[in-house]
Structure formats: C-alpha cells, structure tokens
Symmetry: C2
Subunit: 190 residues, 2 copies
DNA sequence: TTCCCATGTCAACGCTTGTTGACCTACGGT
DNA sequence: ACCGTAGGTCAACAAGCGTTGACATGGGAA
C-alpha cells in the first residue's frame, strides 16, 4: 500500500488530539480546538475518525514497552521499573491524556486497566512464577506509579513536581521493590 | 440567627452536588442534574451559590481532620495514617469529588494541593522537627495515598479495588512508614 | 386584613458542542 | 483533454449547557 497523501493529515490530527486530551481531559478537549491545532477543518476529523470517541481511542493507543524484568538482578527491579515509567511519561503525552481522561471517561479507564493489568501483570508474573498474589502486586505498583504521575505531572504538587528525577528514583525504589519482592503480608500477619 | 427555612434546600443542593461531582467530575456534572437530584429548580442553585464555580467551591470544602501524630509510637505512624485516609475516603464523597475534578479543574487542583501541603505538611513537620525534607515527605505520602484512591475508587483496578481493607493497610504500611521516617536517601546516596 | 419579603417557578437567552451533508478542488490514469 | 475520485471547505443543524429576569406564592409582622 503506497503512502497516501492523507496520512500526513491523519498524523497531524492524532498529534494535536493527544496534546489536547493530555492538557484538557476528555470533555474539555474539543474537536474544534484539535482541528484548529492541526490546521484543518473539524469535518476532517469526523471523516477520518468517525466521532470523538473513536478519535480518542486512536489517539490513546499505547504500549508500556516493559523490558524483560526476569533478566535483571532481583534487587534492581524497583529502580529499573521507576526509571522506565518516568521515561514513558516524559516525551510523550499519551499517558498524560490517558490519565486525565480516565478519571471521567469509561473507555479511557478501561484502557488504563488493560495497561496495568494486561501488560504490567504478565511482566510481573514472570518474576513471581505466577502466584495468586501476582495481580495484587501489579495493582500495588500501579497505585504508586499512577500516584506519582498524578502528583508530579497533573496536580503539580510542589515538592513532588520539583524533585529531581534522581530523588524520585531514590525515594520510590524501596517501595516498588517491596511490592515486587516482599512476602505477602496478609498470609503471615506476624 | 434563626434557622432559615432555606437552609434545608441549601443542604440538599450541596449533598446532590457532592454526589454528582464525585460521580461525574466537574464538567460532566451539570447544574440541571444536580437540581433534579435535589428536587428543585436549576435557578435555585444560581440564587444560592451564584455560579457553578462557587457551587463547587462550597461543595468541595473539606478537612482531613488529621489526628495528632506526635502522640503515636513512631512505628505505628504508617498504619495509623492509612487507616485514617481510608476512613476519610469512605462514607463521604467530598474527596472523590475533589479527586475527579482536580484532574481537569484548576480550583479543585488548588484545593487538593492545599489539603496535602497545607494540612498534611504541618502535621508531618511536628514529627520531623520541620527539617527541609518535610514537604518532600508529605508529597511522597500524597503520591501513595492518592494513587491508592485513584486505583481503588476511581479506576477500580481489579485487585486493588477488591482487596480487603486489612490487606491494603498491611501492604501500604511499610511504604508510608518509609516516607515518614527513613533518612533522606538523597543526602547520603551510599 | 394588609403588606412584604423570602422562597420558589418558568421560559427563555446566548453560546458551545458534536455532527452532518452539500459543495468545491486538484491531480493521476486513460 | 477528460474525468473520477481522494482530499478538503463551508454553513448549518439539533442538543445541551450555564445563566438570567420576570413572575408566582405563601407565611409572618404590622
């Protein structure tokens, strides 16, 4: 299939959509604004993507691209995961768009779930051997990762937003490491 | 000042507003829907609260009601804080409304910041003696607490949402304890 | 009773939104 | 040169929004 001339327009729309959804969330990001950013007519967006819902679905496609954790020394898992998350957050607004939208949009929330349960879950399963607590561990990592993103990038909570990247890694490493490798505290309360 | 008859209506509006903001976020929660829930006319909302912005400000008033942490044994701080947060989240939709709105609404984000920096910060300062890392510690506690709320109550991430309260406390206690009492890892890297 | 003000109702406004369909334009194959 | 079609423009639609102002009502003070 030859490269159509319209692919350029499609790409421009997707980029503008990602930026708007990331900055404004699902409902405040208007098709008109996205079209203006992409220097085209709003009707083009409809022609290429059908409706706003499908546009978001296309713009919010994302892959965590998790490295193979089973090849890492066990005590470096936490640091590696955080570094990777920070990498995936910066330089691409897709996760930002996903987070901002997932709070009020059902489809975005679904995709967020799929990201952390369907991608992070299996990656962790390779470490734990697929024990029954695997999903719980993935969920716990999600709470800390998303909480960090929320406070650092969305809410811009002073100290968290200004903290240098190295400090974030230093503080969060033990936490993630704990969720990944500590024995399940609910099976042996003491 | 005698109890006016309208106070009942005001209260009904505020309750309905909190529920709608909590369930739908700021923009999708409409004044018309709130008025219907409160069994009154939309114009009443305007008369009592001026506009949507002020209605939200009134509905989202909140106090963390943090206990005096300095009276607790140092090794029970983490568990006590989590228990308290879970208590404040359940049985009152205000925090839910605040979280859902703060992702797209500036005023809500401001209030969230004020909650965690202006209330949690000072409470932690009484523990650390007000060192320069106090605000950072408060921020870190915020990341884990809000991340938990996001995954458990908003996104309903399977395992995190279904985990019994006791399991949440058991898993998160070491994390919060770490943020509160561990020596700053950035000042002595090794 | 009379009057007044707090309380509440109603219909409409101006605006923005997602979405649609009719229309224009230009270029590549024949 | 012709023409079909991919690509793009334009104006308008219906619906929903926050918000407003004119109008009803009803109970307590005089």
């Amino acid at each position: 299939m030859p490269a159509r001339r319209s692919d350029q327009t499609r790409a421009a729309i997707l980029t503008a959509a990602r930026e708007r959804f990331a900055a404004d969330g699902y409902e405040r990001a208007t098709i008109r604004a996205i079209a203006t950013d992409a220097s085209i007519d709003p009707a083009m967006v409809m022609r290429y993507f059908g409706n706003k819902e499908k546009l978001f679905a296309a713009a919010a496609e994302f892959d965590l691209r998790l490295p193979d954790l089973s090849e890492l020394p066990r005590d470096q898992l936490g640091a590696a995961l955080i570094e990777h998350f920070l990498d995936r957050w910066e330089g691409d607004d897709t996760l930002m768009a996903l987070l901002r939208a997932s709070v009020t949009n059902q489809a975005a929330a679904d995709r967020m779930r799929q990201l952390f349960m369907g991608q992070l879950g299996p990656a962790i399963a390779k470490l734990t051997g697929g024990g029954p607590d695997t999903a719980v561990r993935a969920g716990l990592v999600a709470t800390q990762s998303l909480g960090l993103a929320l406070c650092r990038y969305v809410l811009a909570l002073g100290p968290v937003a200004e903290m240098p990247r190295a400090a974030v890694v230093a503080w969060l490493t033990p936490t993630i490491q704990h969720y990944l490798t500590s024995p399940d505290p609910t099976t042996s309360p003491r």
